[in-house]
Symmetry: C2
DNA sequence: TAGTGGTCTAGACCACGGT
DNA sequence: CCGTGGTCTAGACCACTAG
């Protein structure tokens, strides 16, 4: 299970195990996670380490710790529609739906001597017979970092999985600006909106752990995408 | 300094001390906080407790821990323009400006037999000779919880300080929806905007630690208010 | 009362940054 | 090399929840 000699900290290893178990349905909504004492025995590590892993899952909104009762799995909690466009497939799973991606544009271009791939994708959720479009994602990706990326079919492959598994590059941090904007006829058409209306838009960059810029992105959100924000007040 | 018998955890006490020192200028931008070892000696508590306090300040974006170097004070960091409307005066201090509040409406009303205060405030930042309007805040406050609240002059008093100090009620958690909207002539007039344009708006509730609803709020953001979002990608 | 998570101690070893 | 923060151990006591 855990590798005590790995460079990856134990609490990160545990966190990943628990997260994948939750997202893959080993634990279901409202289930209790094994207690911290049980996890101590199961993984042979101390409670401090376990608590650090669970605390981070808590921060992500995936579980909720309740004093005296236990740690609950929270799949469809308040925080599920926040900014985690990054894990669109997780978002879908949380809604018990399937993620759908339609590639609208895919072209390479040059700028300042470097080559890039521009990728425009329409993303949505599908349940039974209805499809709900959620966002239009525009990505600019440096081919110097991702050679031959344009050969991929992005409608069935997750961009970030591709980065991690094919190129061994791990998206780590994103820096975005959020702005309002008016819809355009093209956007209305793509998102299947009946009338022009104000929308939310975010744009920014994605970095690796060593602060290498690996993507510039713009995301336009359909009104179907409900932004919720929960935060603690520092005092 | 710290009271080991207080019901308030030591790490919370320490966090509050450090935060107020940072915001009051005892430590300045780019300064190093005392090292964890120094803080151990100074406060006579273990490193674990100190690290918990600093980790939370880190999460708030007030400090940045750097391996091998120390913990830096970060006043004007990326996260400073995020959703922390709550601490408008801190936001101002971080920008080296003064917070300004103008009361636009103040009236009591009844609904379902309960009495409320409706408060509309225009909020901005002032530096030297220029004033920049940032938000229009509309609050609905239950007078059952805050008796006689309407007697206050809100242009010079912080609403949350009032809650804490006069009523001993501590805002703890907020749950908001974020939406785009079109400006109206009234809003343009109040925010001194030249033309109609899409804006951001958030609305929701503020709760205490025991989940008592103490405020309903709506905030309309001027384009001067730049929303930035920084987040880690879970993987 | 038994079991849970919340806080805290007093250590240890490590990886990183700069001298 | 030393001082910094990062991880981890093996305990302890407490507060909360529920039967």
């Amino acid at each position: 299970m855990l590798n005590k000699n790995d460079v990856i900290p134990l609490y990160v290893q545990l966190k990943r195990i628990l997260r994948s178990q939750i997202l893959n349905g080993v634990f279901k909504e409202m289930d209790l996670l094994p207690s911290e004492t049980q996890l101590m025995k199961e993984y042979q590590i101390t409670r401090t380490t376990i608590r650090k892993a669970i605390a981070e899952l808590n921060k992500e909104g995936l579980v909720q710790q309740v004093h005296g009762k236990g740690t609950y799995v929270r799949l469809r909690e308040t925080k599920d529609t926040v900014w985690n466009f990054q894990s669109f497939s997780d978002l879908a799973r949380r809604h018990n739906q399937k993620p759908i991606t339609k590639v609208l544009e895919k072209e390479t271009y040059s700028k300042d001597g470097d080559h890039f791939l521009k990728l425009v994708r329409l993303r949505g959720l599908k349940s039974e017979e209805t499809t709900t479009w959620m966002t239009i994602d525009t990505s600019h990706l440096p081919l110097k970092i991702f050679p031959n990326l344009e050969a991929n079919n992005f409608s069935s492959t997750s961009l970030y999985e591709l980065m991690r598994e094919t190129y061994n590059i791990h998206p780590h941090y994103t820096n975005l600006n959020i702005e309002p904007m008016m819809s355009t006829p093209l956007i209305c058409d793509r998102l299947e909106l009946q009338e022009e209306q104000p929308l939310l838009r975010s744009s920014g960059i994605v970095l690796t752990e060593s602060n290498v810029e690996i993507e510039r992105i713009e995301i336009i959100y359909s009104p179907n995408f409900k932004f919720k924000l929960s935060q603690y007040i520092h005092s």
